[in-house]
């Protein structure tokens, strides 16, 4: 059995959970190493050595250290191409290109407004920070426009990049999970017919259910 890969960061982090979903889809054993962000551990010198931007996650296997969740997902999908879900990153160049297009759409169009909403509506209250109503309104408007494009696409295609569940869909799971389960903006997804259908399908996957369980597990006690 291969040595488990290491993922640094709390599973409640959207970016960390993106990587965990990918590892589970690819049947790659991993060890989750806690980083206590409430204590600022991610900004301390020891952590900055492995992730100089002071962000989570960070990743290590026997041949490389990497950061940036979408880069980690791409690396894992390529390195472990022959195990787990073999269609996650496409099986030919055109399939892969379509996945890259929608992964970039997620990173550039979907992520900014949706993660602003996740922060404002799910995290700021927990951190006792004041919400910015202007940011919430602007983000919701931007996200609505993006979801209108998705609604059209998902009326023509079962998943974003084509007929199969891929990294492109997976990348959307973390932010959408928060918006649907702990904010009142979930309707933005569930009230759009095709987006709603797609959300049900992708969030119903075993891999994602396991990630959600990991997110619910109590945080490890500090050393």
């Amino acid at each position: 059995m291969a040595t488990p890969v290491k993922v640094y960061g709390p599973p409640m982090s959207t970016a960390v959970s993106r990587v965990l979903a990918c590892l589970l889809e690819k049947d790659v054993n991993f060890q989750l190493i806690p980083v206590d962000m409430s204590k600022g551990e991610h900004k301390k010198p020891d952590y900055l050595k492995i992730q100089p931007f002071g962000q989570v996650p960070s990743f290590q296997d026997e041949s490389i250290s990497l950061f940036e969740s979408r880069a980690i997902c791409r690396y894992v999908s390529e390195k472990y191409a022959n195990q787990g879900n073999k269609r996650l990153y496409g099986t030919n160049p055109l399939e892969k290109a379509s996945i890259e297009q929608w992964l970039e759409a997620e990173g550039q169009s979907f992520n900014p407004p949706s993660s602003a909403l996740v922060f404002q509506l799910a995290f700021a209250p927990r951190m006792k920070l004041k919400q910015d109503l202007g940011v919430i309104k602007q983000s919701e408007e931007k996200l609505a426009k993006v979801l209108d494009v998705y609604e059209q696409r998902l009326g023509e295609s079962r998943f974003l990049a084509g007929d199969e569940f891929t990294l492109a869909d997976l990348s959307h799971l973390p932010n959408t999970q928060y918006l649907v389960s702990v904010t009142e903006k979930g309707e933005m997804f569930t009230k759009r017919k095709n987006v709603g259908r797609w959300w049900s399908e992708i969030s119903g996957r075993d891999s994602w259910k396991k990630v959600v369980d990991l997110q619910k597990a109590p945080p490890p006690k500090s050393a």
Binding site: F53, A71, Y75, E78, K96, E100, E104, G107, V146
Partner: protein, 216 residues
């Protein structure tokens, strides 16, 4: 069949053009006047539903998002022109890491600067001084991390020029027009890296053929 690239005057399409030149791939271009709002025309939205540039057409095939397009062509033509992806899965992983750093950490603040400082008048919205100040500060923090990285590594992903470096070129070039090139020049290793990548023949060719819409 020749690849068609839409919107060559603008920075994101230029990422694609640099890549095509590096890979020795023939292309033609189709102008899209963003100032006139052509990117929001129904005809354009059929090709790129998010209403941004670029989009490419390669025969019947359509693809958008500049970083997806450059990954596709760098891989499809791996054995011709410059190798932009590294030789191993690990090198490719490092290229992907720094390409994501560009997309997630570098691009947002520099894009805000370019939008507010250079395009606000032409696009008809007021430049937001607070956004400009915050963006410059954030860009500086990112460049501090680049300075450290580039003191240990000739290029971002290692000792080879890759998609990760290439992706930075078009927007970084705008710093000159904004009078903010000091952000690069003040940092010794970032400055050396910028001199190197911006003097590549591919960039010189792209700039010569498709000058930026905002004159320096």
């Amino acid at each position: 069949m020749v690849v068609k690239v839409y919107g060559p005057a603008f920075a994101c399409p230029k990422r694609v053009l640099i890549c095509l030149v590096e890979k020795e791939i023939e292309f033609e271009t189709v102008p899209v006047d963003i100032i006139k709002g052509e990117h929001k025309d129904p005809e354009y939205l059929k090709l790129q539903p998010f209403g941004v540039v670029p989009v490419i057409q390669d025969g019947d095939y359509t693809l958008y998002e500049s970083r997806a397009i450059i990954r596709y062509y760098a891989e499809k033509y791996k054995s011709q022109g410059t190798d932009l992806l590294g030789k191993t899965i690990e090198e490719r992983g490092t290229v992907e890491q720094w390409l994501e750093v560009e997309a997630q950490n570098y691009h947002p603040p520099i894009y805000n600067l370019v939008l507010h400082v250079l395009f606000s008048d032409k696009m008809g919205f007021p430049a937001d001084a607070k956004v400009i100040e915050e963006s410059e500060k954030n860009l500086g923090k990112v460049l501090d991390i680049y300075e450290e990285r580039l003191s240990k590594s000739k290029y971002l992903a290692g000792d080879f020029f890759s998609l990760a470096d290439l992706s930075h070129i078009p927007f970084t070039n705008y710093l000159g027009a904004m009078g903010k090139m000091y952000l690069i020049k003040e940092r010794e290793h970032v400055s050396a890296w910028w001199d190197d990548i911006s003097s590549r023949p591919s960039w010189k060719k792209v700039l010569e053929l498709y000058p930026a819409p905002i004159l320096e």
